[in-house]
Symmetry: C3
């Protein structure tokens, strides 16, 4: 039997009327059932590859992936901006109006939220499941097209997993694009994840994973990259553009790296640390904070003010080094009104270090602010004396000359 | 109808004599016409994938891509060094003499310069066109094989575009490999682009794009990476080798990053800023400047002298941090004769910052030179007092101890 | 003739009993023989693509690749942890017990060590051979499953080569995963190489290559990344996890970069320089050194003690900048007993520079130690006075305030 399946040629046993053009979810579930039937023995379960050619496919039934070594791949992430289209007025003359490529329209009629749920109980953890080079399109938001809400999830991995790959995918107009629980050695690379409520959410726990070389931009309601309880996560080489309630959000995440990325955001808190985050490295990144320039999105924000910090640190012994921060917000849009904006806020924790950071701003800023609860922060060449403000005396400052 | 095409099996309607072995360009144009015929409605235009198996294909007619979501992919970028071969003397005993893989020989007989022109008027912009894993070979230069001139362009994207990908491609012996106008969220990643006049040229304007994880080396006549009018470009993780008139050339490009790359060049101006470039970050790169070691290329250069700077900055509030510069040019080859070479020249602008850069050199160098027109440059731990030269008094220096 | 082969459908001329399910090595050799027969002329040798669908394939005969432009690709690197499985006790109830995807079991019965040997004499060098997205599984170690020894080599490239790619591969339970001699412009990217004695070994010499965006973790006996005689190697964006005798080992390697990686190790010498290594850049990396937490591996180590350095430098004019070092080893496990651990040891050489490095540790450490033989080291903001120790007076120190 072949281990290579094509959704356009698969015949669902006993249900010839069911095709990928009526419900690709049910078709893929049927294929997975066949894989399991073909590989019954413990001794040889190499998995399979399911191909999704370019096309428009409705997904009405959630796919449940409960086998290791399954690759689901298409030929094109097919991103286009639905946000521009929905806010464009008449599109009657447009060449096309929807995303494309190997495009799965997430239109569950089964009461489920997810297009793909990956989960299995027992041992071992699922290994090496791959999503590659197709499009998951949530089609529309509710109650209006700028809400970033529709309850739809592109891919949810809900049990511990090892060596998964999400590569070259497109996600658009989903409330949550990718949610992975308890990841080990996960690779999220080369994807285009934009105009989703949240883009990459690594929840529960995780270790030794990487989010690299992606183009990412969440909505104002969610996270571009979120990591909870992770150790040794590497976030590098990404171009993270607006909007995103935050661009990288760490919650109780330790010994991880945020390096050599480009970050562009419209609200405070581009990097947002929640809980206690220890010994993380934020280095070599470019941060650009400006005000929302696009009228349709100007009503929205993340609710934070400019004293929150472009970077908001909580935790101990983190290092913020070699970054360039560019702050450019019209005075009238700075909140609270009349405030001097904070670029890096050390909101809690001990022994954090900021060194060799540069700041360019259209207004006077506090490059570094230390909360009264912080101890032992070292600020080296990261703020002139005038750009530095501390609410504690427990720190070391070598001002930028 | 299938959305997956193979150039070796496509029959051109009405012209059975035309095949990919007579003119792959005309064949691909015929396939694109079929895609448009098959997808006439605005409501569903998912595009297609065109496969180019390993083979030798002449392209006599320019391909015009005017549909979104088209993937053209091969199985192998097929790079080999034509430069070595053309300069090798007799190759009669060689195993092979040409590039290979999915190799398209760019041999236009239609009066056009480009192998592929991507352009469309009207709305929306073209989205998610993908070039992947095949070879565009210009075959030869004129009037001689070391000229880097033949008027041939591999891919020219000439209208505004979104979410394009150029990945895993090979380009060789073209005067211009890849030229993209007005890019948004472009990804140029994992390519091998070498022995071309220019390699990556991002012209007009652009935003939120990335050039990552490539192997790149232009000829002495052109650019390895050129970006004009870009915002938020991320150039990271590339190994950029000789030659290149410059290795990264920014023209009126702002808030972009050049980080964690390896740069190796034979002429001054490895990084070259033209016009006004603001708030860019150059960090964590390795720079190696040496003299041309290969006899066939020693007659050539980029016309700049060693006072131009290995890095030539023009603009404001740029940050150059955490780089290692290795300069090794025999005294006799330094120009002007007897000059002390400049490593980083701040040629114009205000508020630039150089911090924590290291320099190794075979001769005494000026690590940092400030032009008389510059203001407010900060030079921190980036030059000893002896390695620093300023033609203005408007600067801050903390010499490397 | 097609240039696209499938191992599951190839009929070996004269030997119909031989299939990919009896010996995939002999089948691939037969395909390569056919490629050579089909492409006899020097003027057109585009090579071919050999596809390995998901499946379990024994390799009994070594493959010899001696043609350029050959792509061997699968649909899934199929990694799972064999180490966990072998140490798990009964796995009778497990869903699966072996790696999967396009899985080649390396079971040579031909007296050879390698699954794949890539080599050719004469001119030119082999170019653009690609290994992509399949699994090389050594199946088991001897004499026990935690030895990392079985004499098996996944891929050995043994003659000079240009523009090779190893991408998206999985390697597991091999004594040596990938060994490449005399590489030029090699790309090792997006792979999962773990639970092998050594992972990436670049031997002999090499230039302008890159090891990027990989997940890598060797055994205690070998190297995660080894480079000998290289120039301009770029090691960036990798998540390198335990164990590894060393994580990056440079031997007489110059002007190379180790940047924006995450390194996690259980022994001294995460970065290990042997011989003389000049003008390398180690920047923006996260280093985490802790003690082996897993009982089955606690009997093993690399034989080095905590005075060796988490980073052990030998050579001249190297730059170590912008790194975060996290050292967390219980006092009882520090060797020699009672010693103050060394984080960065400059063991030999002149004019090295350590600048802007941060250190977090559970015990008092010497952040930087200079050997008596060293000269001209500059230590800037990389150790407090108490964290610095020098056995020479020939240095410059600006202690971290």
């Amino acid at each position: 039997m072949s281990t290579v399946y094509d959704v356009t040629t698969w015949s669902v046993p006993g249900n010839p009327a069911l095709t990928c053009y009526t419900d690709i979810g049910a078709v893929i579930n049927s294929i997975i059932a066949d894989i399991k039937a073909q590989q019954p023995g413990q001794a040889s379960k190499p998995g399979a590859a399911i191909y999704v050619p370019p096309g428009d496919y409705p997904l009405r039934t959630r796919v449940v992936v409960d086998v290791s070594y399954l690759t689901i791949r298409g030929s094109g992430h097919g991103f286009t901006s639905s946000s521009i289209r929905y806010n464009a007025g008449s599109t009657a003359s447009w060449h096309e109006i929807w995303p494309g490529g190997s495009r799965i329209r997430v239109e569950n009629t089964d009461g489920r939220s997810e297009a793909f749920l990956v989960a299995r109980t027992g041992d071992p953890r699922l290994s090496s499941v791959v999503f590659s080079n197709f499009c998951l399109d949530g089609v529309g938001f509710t109650p209006h097209q700028n809400s970033y809400r529709n309850g739809k999830v592109g891919i949810r991995v809900d049990t511990a997993n090892d060596a998964f790959r999400v590569e070259g995918m497109g996600f658009v107009y989903l409330e949550q694009a990718l949610v992975v629980r308890d990841a080990d050695a996960l690779s999220v690379s080369g994807n285009f994840i934009a105009e989703c409520g949240s883009c990459v959410e690594l929840v529960g726990s995780g270790q030794a994973s990487k989010v690299t070389d992606n183009l990412i931009g969440a909505g104002y309601v969610g996270f571009s990259v979120f990591a909870e309880g992770h150790e040794g996560l590497l976030v590098t080489g990404n171009n993270v553009f607006p909007r995103g309630r935050s661009l990288v959000h760490f919650k109780n995440t330790n010994r991880s790296s945020i390096s050599a990325n480009r970050f562009h955001g419209f609200y405070p808190g581009l990097i947002d640390f929640e809980g206690t985050n220890r010994e993380n490295l934020i280095s070599g990144n470019h941060f650009r904070r400006e005000a929302e320039p696009w009228a349709p999105m100007q009503p929205y924000g993340n609710g934070k003010d400019d004293l929150y910090g472009v970077v908001h640190l909580r935790g101990d012994a983190n290092m913020v080094s070699g970054n360039l921060f560019v702050y450019n917000v019209p005075t009238a849009k700075i909140a609270p009104s009349g405030a001097t904006p904070t670029v890096v806020l050390v909101a809690s924790g001990a022994d954090n270090r900021l060194s060799d950071n540069s700041f360019a701003a259209n207004v006077a800023v506090k490059a570094v602010v230390l909360d009264a609860s912080t101890t032992g922060t070292k600020v080296l060449d990261s703020a002139t004396a005038a750009q530095f403000q501390s609410y504690t005396s427990n720190y070391t400052l070598r001002p930028t000359p």
